[in-house]
């Protein structure tokens, strides 16, 4: 009887997990199926151009380079902003803050992590856009930098909470040994505690970035939606996710434009997949020791 029950549970679990795998595979195949005809006509080489003008009356162009650079620019800047802020905040909360401060800060960080991205996007529209505009004296505050600030805001809570976990689980015996040798509190933090928590910190960063790389709504709202190839943070850009979100609703089914959007989605999927594998690796190393 017991055995039979166990078997049923196992079977149920197997069913559930294979269903989810099946769904992921289905999505993947659907993407490929919708994207594939584009490879024959007009051909994959047309994706490599630097002009994204899928609805042009003169000549349709499907160069995804501006979208790729747009995503890259926004994500890279977000990463550069989010890492130091997130890690330093995590160090502060776990090593320096008084218990009373910690009691306030930790739930606040969790609240921030739970905010829907549209809310953060709206916040960006109201706060960051005018701020960027006036600080840099621009004609519009809808820039790559604005998007990066927003994405950083979304990545930071993830980075803080996982890093904080990793840092505060460093055994206090290490810190005591360091202090007893005459190291200062800061030396102990940067030479003992942070290195001991490093793989957890790396995992938090990969997960934080993983969270924002697929982020759509917030960036769509504040980056200005101009598909240009640029590395200037103070210009408007357009990311891959924003492009799909903005154009998929209006595109003619089966058109070149429609299929090009599926290629964008495929490439995005590939990048996210690769990042997730990296995050998993970093996390499992962190769990092992």
């Amino acid at each position: 009887m017991q055995k039979w029950k166990e078997k049923a549970v196992k079977l149920g679990l197997l069913g559930a997990s294979s269903t989810s795998i099946l769904i992921v595979l289905l999505i993947f195949f659907y993407l490929i199926k919708e994207a594939l005809p584009f490879a024959l006509d007009p051909g994959l080489s047309s994706l490599s151009g630097s002009l994204w003008a899928p609805t042009s009356m003169l000549k349709e162009s499907f160069g995804i380079l501006p979208l790729l650079t747009g995503s890259l620019l926004v994500t890279a800047m977000a990463t550069i902003i989010a890492i130091p802020v997130g890690v330093i905040a995590a160090i502060y909360i776990s090593e320096i803050a008084r218990p009373a401060e910690r009691e306030v800060l930790k739930p606040f960080i969790e609240l921030l992590a739970a905010l829907p991205s549209v809310v953060i996007g709206f916040f960006g529209l109201v706060v960051f856009v005018p701020l960027v505009k006036s600080v840099f004296g621009l004609s519009t505050g809808l820039t790559a930098l604005t998007g990066a600030l927003l994405l950083a805001l979304m990545a930071i809570p993830t980075i803080i909470s996982i890093s904080e976990d990793a840092i505060s689980s460093v055994p206090s015996s290490y810190k005591q040994a360091s202090l007893a040798l005459g190291a200062s509190k800061l030396e102990t933090i940067f030479k003992i505690t942070v290195p001991a928590a490093l793989s957890g910190i790396v995992a938090s960063i990969t997960l934080g970035i993983g969270r924002v790389i697929g982020e759509t709504m917030a960036v769509l709202m504040v980056t200005g939606n101009a598909a240009v190839v640029t590395m200037n943070p103070l210009t408007s850009v357009r990311t891959m996710t924003a492009t799909i979100a903005a154009e998929m609703g209006e595109v003619a089914f089966g058109s070149h434009h429609y299929r090009a959007l599926f290629w964008v989605a495929l490439i995005l999927l590939g990048i996210t997949f690769a990042l997730n594998i990296l995050a998993q690796k970093a996390l499992s190393k962190y769990k092992l020791g």
Binding site: S173, Q176, A177, S178, A180, L181, G182, A183
Partner: protein, 265 residues
């Protein structure tokens, strides 16, 4: 004894004092853990702190390098004079104090770093950057801690890969690397097997003379074997302090006698 005038004649075997504790009280918040401790720890000798669990041995040990400072809400009254300086005076540099007063913990706690980096950590903190000099210090400290022969071919492996006994000797090497005068040990062998314990005791005998050692132990035989002086603590009070030989043969105090004969604790 013949008295000259009303002065005590200078005694030949009067030891030089390294740590002079005067009327020390210690509080964890409202809880007073040490009461009016007065004790002179002789230089170059091994002093054992014994007493039942919870009597304040570790607390007392940690007042000597101010490791209690890192626990919130603690308070010290009285004086501890080390090398003629009151270590709780406001102008004292805790970094320099801890450089002079090394500590070995109950549970071996090497850093999750290589053996080399474990030992080099202290000297680096205190400003030594030259690689050759660091190498020399690491070797000397590991030799001194009687672990060099076991690790000399694998200084790059993690300190955590060593056995418990080796880890503890590595921790002793790490403490010696900053060239302290005093070594505090809080039950350094209590987590180790008998053979490793033996090696630690041999090592203490080796270090005796060059370092002033204060060791907490709950093991009476160990105190008798390794120490020159013994302090018996009970409920936060220093009940009796004197030459180990005398404490173990002719204790002045009834409580001391009861404790060392195993009647309680």
């Amino acid at each position: 004894m013949v008295m000259i005038g009303n002065q005590t004649p200078p005694q030949i075997d009067e030891p030089e004092i390294e740590i002079d504790v005067q009327n020390l009280d210690f509080y964890y918040g409202k809880h007073q853990a040490l009461h009016d401790i007065c004790m002179s720890v002789p230089k170059g000798m091994v002093t054992a702190l014994i007493g039942p669990s919870g009597c304040g041995k570790s607390t007392f040990l940690r007042t000597l390098n101010r490791m209690n400072d890192i626990i919130g809400g603690t308070r010290v009254e009285g004086k501890i004079v080390i090398q003629s300086k009151d270590i709780y005076a406001p102008n004292i540099d805790v970094v320099m104090l801890r450089k002079r007063v090394g500590m070995v913990f109950q549970k071996p706690n090497p850093f999750p770093k290589s053996i080399f980096e474990n030992v080099a950590y202290g000297p680096r903190i205190h400003g030594i950057k030259n690689r050759a000099q660091l190498q020399e210090i690491v070797e000397r400290s590991l030799v001194r801690a009687a672990i060099w022969d076991e690790v000399k071919d694998r200084l790059h492996i993690s300190g955590l890969e060593l056995s418990g006994g080796q880890q503890q000797r590595l921790c002793i090497a790490r403490a010696l690397a900053v060239d302290p005068d005093i070594l505090l040990m809080d039950e350094p062998a209590s987590a180790l097997d008998p053979r490793s314990t033996q090696r630690i005791e041999d090592l203490i005998a080796e270090l005796r003379g060059d370092y002033t050692i204060v060791i907490v132990t709950h093991n009476m035989q160990q105190a008798a074997r390794v120490s020159d002086y013994t302090a018996f603590f009970y409920e936060g009070h220093l009940i009796e302090f004197g030459k180990t030989e005398r404490i173990f043969t002719k204790p002045n105090n009834k409580q001391t006698e009861d404790y060392i004969t195993g009647r309680f604790g």
